[in-house]
């Protein structure tokens, strides 16, 4: 077992276990914390794949931003001591059947597929390359999606302010 395999399996186990805990925990704040672990492990996977910039983004934005946002809203809308109700059995069974069936189907398909794998490029992605790709308008340039995303973020910001604002009436 190589280091990579070991690290991968470690992260995988953390991700799967905490994912399961996220969707089954009866305490909502704990669920949010478990989600944080999942997201951090994911960023570990990115480090493993030598996408350092992306892993950093994952950490700051997902783990730092979104999870904090979720925790804030949890605190706004629920009591910490409150336990979530256990979903009805039929609901759980049907959802589990659907999820397991889908997972089995996908995994079977994945395992049957042969991918043409290249040799691993161990180089770290240069931050300069990312910046140029982000602002370039040529081939492999992402200036337009970048601009669109910035407009989307602005719209989301204004929209959430308007939505969450107290109505005068």
């Amino acid at each position: 077992m190589t280091n990579n395999q070991f690290m991968f399996l470690l992260f995988s186990v953390v991700i799967v276990v905490f994912s399961l805990l996220t969707v089954t925990s009866r305490r909502i704040l704990r669920a949010a914390t478990f989600l944080l672990f999942v997201l951090v492990s994911t960023s570990g996977l990115y480090f493993l794949l030598r996408f350092n910039f992306l892993a950093a983004i994952q950490l700051t934005l997902y783990a730092g931003g979104i999870v904090v946002l979720i925790i804030f809203s949890v605190l706004l809308t629920s009591h910490i001591s409150e336990k979530l109700a256990i979903p009805p059995v039929t609901k759980r069974i049907f959802a589990a059947i659907a999820a397991i069936a889908g997972a089995v189907l996908c995994i079977l398909t994945i395992l049957q597929t042969q991918f043409v794998q290249k040799t691993f490029d161990p180089a770290r992605t240069n931050i300069r390359t990312i910046g140029e790709g982000m602002l370039s308008t040529g081939k492999y340039g992402y200036a337009l999606p970048f601009e669109v995303i910035s407009v989307l973020l602005l719209a989301a910001m204004i929209g959430s302010i308007i939505l969450a604002k107290k109505r005068k009436d």
Partner: protein, 639 residues
């Protein structure tokens, strides 16, 4: 060539007045609407007089005959190159004469109504519909083709319906308007069939083509026989059925007496002078074809003759003065139909045609006068029944004088108008059919009798106790009476033989004193009997009535025609035709639809649970669907 295109305004003005007053009637004071309507009709009257003057005296004649000219024409529906429906203005002697009759009487009735309807609820509505009626009636007479005539014919029926039901809060008025509409509609169905047969066989609607010397109606439609009569005869009979419905000929007459529920000016205008003669006008308009189809014309004559006698008998027994006048109208229209029925075509043979039109003209004056007079009487004593009246001549001097003139005119006493026209009819009948002629002599006597029975009962006899002292009508009501009285006196001197004839060629006529003198004597005898019986209060009339027994009762009950109709409709048609049809409609047609609705309802009730509003259920279904599709396309459907 004189330009007659302005005659379209004769049609348009009443229409505009109708639309304007109908839309704005509630905004102005009622009297404003009345004045607008009357002024509009005044203009129409002037235009009609000018048109008549130009047509008869200024316009050049072609070969001595009056022209038939299209003053205005617009192709409305282009069906085929030959068959198209036009809207236009046709001017020929009879349509110009009808313009005069309608505009005069309508104008008089408008003025009269200003007084008579004063203070009535719906005054504005009344004038508005009156304008609609004038528009439709004028459109009917100047129709260039039979289809245009049919359209206006129905419009006339609608306005008649609206005016009979004017007092729509009264049940009897509603019933009467419904009855009038249904009976005339039924007759109009025949008219429509006639139109379709005629246009199918001849390929044209146009009057000028149809009644011209080379009419396709003379040649086509002769081959196919049905029940011993050709297609053309049948089509003429169906057309006559429409005319008989509108003109209240037996047996389609039952609506006319009930139509008296409408306001009296309406009775004068629509149910005496103009609309009810539309049937006569229709036959006159199609006369060349009728003349060609002698068997149809014979039926016209007999229906007319029988109706005139039948209605005269009933008129002798009625007490409601408006109903007496209604039956008298039927009787007189019977005269006109008879005259057409016995007429020949061209020159002196067309005497009956001329006489019919002549009688239509004079009758319009004196019958309108009689109705308006009756209106003034009713206005004064608030009753329709002559046995609640008497001795009114002191209170209503003008009404009395004009009413007397009208009675003399209708009885055929010279020199009043009725004498001349009736005399021509009798002469025409004498030369054609002696039986009909004798019948008409009898009717002439009865006419004189029932008119003077009415006259003496109302104006002489014993004075009754009234709610308040009867008073003479206001000036807006008496002026039309006087004008119409002048018309009734002098209209007989108009030389109709020079103006309105079957082939538009003038001819000489002379009073046949051998026929005229006995008719005058018969009329005088009728008047004499009425004088003896009713001038002083006496029981003689009651004794005679008792002596006549069953016949009197039958006549008083209008020969139970209404009951026969009710029996046929209620007992036979409703039970054996309408009920099964209604059953079929309710259970089969509606039932099918109800089943559809029921099934849809049940199914949607069952499946509406799918729309639970539960987001997670939707998601579950969606994901299951995606998985199923993936399964299907990746593993199961792999060929």
């Amino acid at each position: 060539m004189i330009d007659f295109s302005y005659t379209i305004w004769i049609l348009l003005i009443p229409l505009i007045v109708f639309v304007v007053t109908g839309l704005t009637g509630n905004r102005f004071k009622p009297i404003v609407t009345g004045i607008i309507g009357t002024a509009g009709l005044g203009v129409v009257f002037l235009l009609s007089v000018i048109t008549a003057y130009k047509f008869f005296f200024v316009l050049d004649k072609v070969g001595g005959a009056f022209q038939r000219l299209l003053a205005f024409n617009h192709t409305w529906l282009h069906l085929t190159d030959k068959l198209h429906i036009d809207i236009g203005v046709l001017l020929d002697p009879i349509s110009v004469m009808m313009l005069i009759v309608i505009s005069t009487v309508s104008f008089m009735v408008h003025i009269y109504s200003l007084g008579y309807m004063k203070g009535e609820k719906g005054f504005a509505r009344f004038f508005s519909i009156l304008s609609l009626f004038s528009f439709s009636m004028l459109g009917l007479v100047i129709a260039t083709n039979i289809f245009q005539m049919y359209i206006f014919w129905e419009l006339v029926g609608v306005s008649s319906f609206l005016l009979i039901g004017f007092y729509y809060e009264k049940d009897s008025a509603v019933a009467a308007s419904k009855k009038a509409f249904i009976v005339t509609r039924f007759a109009d169905l025949g008219f429509l069939i006639g139109i379709l047969l005629l246009s199918y066989t001849t390929g044209t609607f146009d009057f000028i083509t149809l009644t011209g010397p080379n009419s396709p109606a003379f040649t086509s439609g002769q081959g196919i026989m049905f029940l011993g009569m050709s297609t053309m005869t049948w089509s003429m009979l169906f057309v006559f059925m429409g005319g008989a419905g509108k003109s209240a000929m037996f047996p389609l007459h039952i609506w006319l007496p009930d139509a008296m529920e409408g306001p009296t000016p309406v009775s004068a205008l629509i149910h005496a002078a103009t609309m009810v003669v539309a049937g006569v006008y229709l036959v006159a308009r199609m006369f060349p074809i009728f003349h060609h189809e002698q068997s149809a014309l014979e039926i016209v004559a007999w229906v007319g003759g029988f109706t005139s006698l039948f209605a005269a008998v009933i008129a002798c027994t009625q007490y409601d003065i408006k109903r007496v006048l209604a039956y008298s109208t039927m009787s007189q229209i019977g005269y006109m139909m008879l005259a057409l029925g016995v007429s020949g075509y061209g020159g002196e043979d067309g005497l009956g045609y001329m006489a019919s039109m002549f009688h239509l003209f004079t009758h319009a004056f004196f019958k309108a006068l009689l109705f308006l007079g009756a209106g003034a009487i009713i206005h004064a004593v608030h009753s329709n029944y002559m046995n609640e009246m008497g001795g009114l001549r002191k209170y209503l001097p003008i009404t009395h004088a004009t009413f007397l003139i009208a009675c003399l005119a209708i009885s055929g006493i010279p020199p009043f108008a009725g004498f001349f026209s009736k005399d021509e009819i009798l002469v025409a009948a004498f030369h054609h059919n002696k039986a009909l002629f004798a019948m008409e002599y009898l009717v002439a006597g009865m006419t004189a009798f029932y008119m003077f029975r009415l006259y003496f009962n109302v104006f002489w006899g014993q004075e009754q106790h009234y709610h308040h002292t009867p008073h003479e009508a206001p000036v807006t009501m008496t002026i039309p009476l006087i004008i119409l009285a002048i018309g009734s006196t002098f209209a007989g001197f108009i030389p109709f033989t020079k103006l309105v004839t079957s082939d538009s060629l003038p001819f000489e006529s002379h009073t046949e004193w051998g026929i005229a003198i006995p008719s005058i004597l018969i009329a005088l005898a009728g008047i004499g009997i009425a004088t003896m019986l009713y001038m002083k209060k006496s029981d003689t009339s009651k004794k005679i009535a008792t002596a006549l027994g069953g016949f009197y009762t039958a006549a008083y009950g209008k020969f139970y025609i209404d009951q026969v109709y009710l029996f046929i409709t209620k007992k036979i048609l409703f039970n054996y035709v309408s009920r099964p049809v209604a059953w079929f409609d309710r259970h089969i047609v509606d039932g099918t639809m109800n089943q559809f609705a029921y099934v849809t309802n049940v199914v949607s009730d069952r499946i509406k649970g799918f729309q639970s509003g539960q987001l997670q259920q939707y998601a579950l279904v969606f994901i299951s669907g995606v998985i199923a599709l993936a399964l299907l396309f990746i593993y199961l459907w792999t060929n």
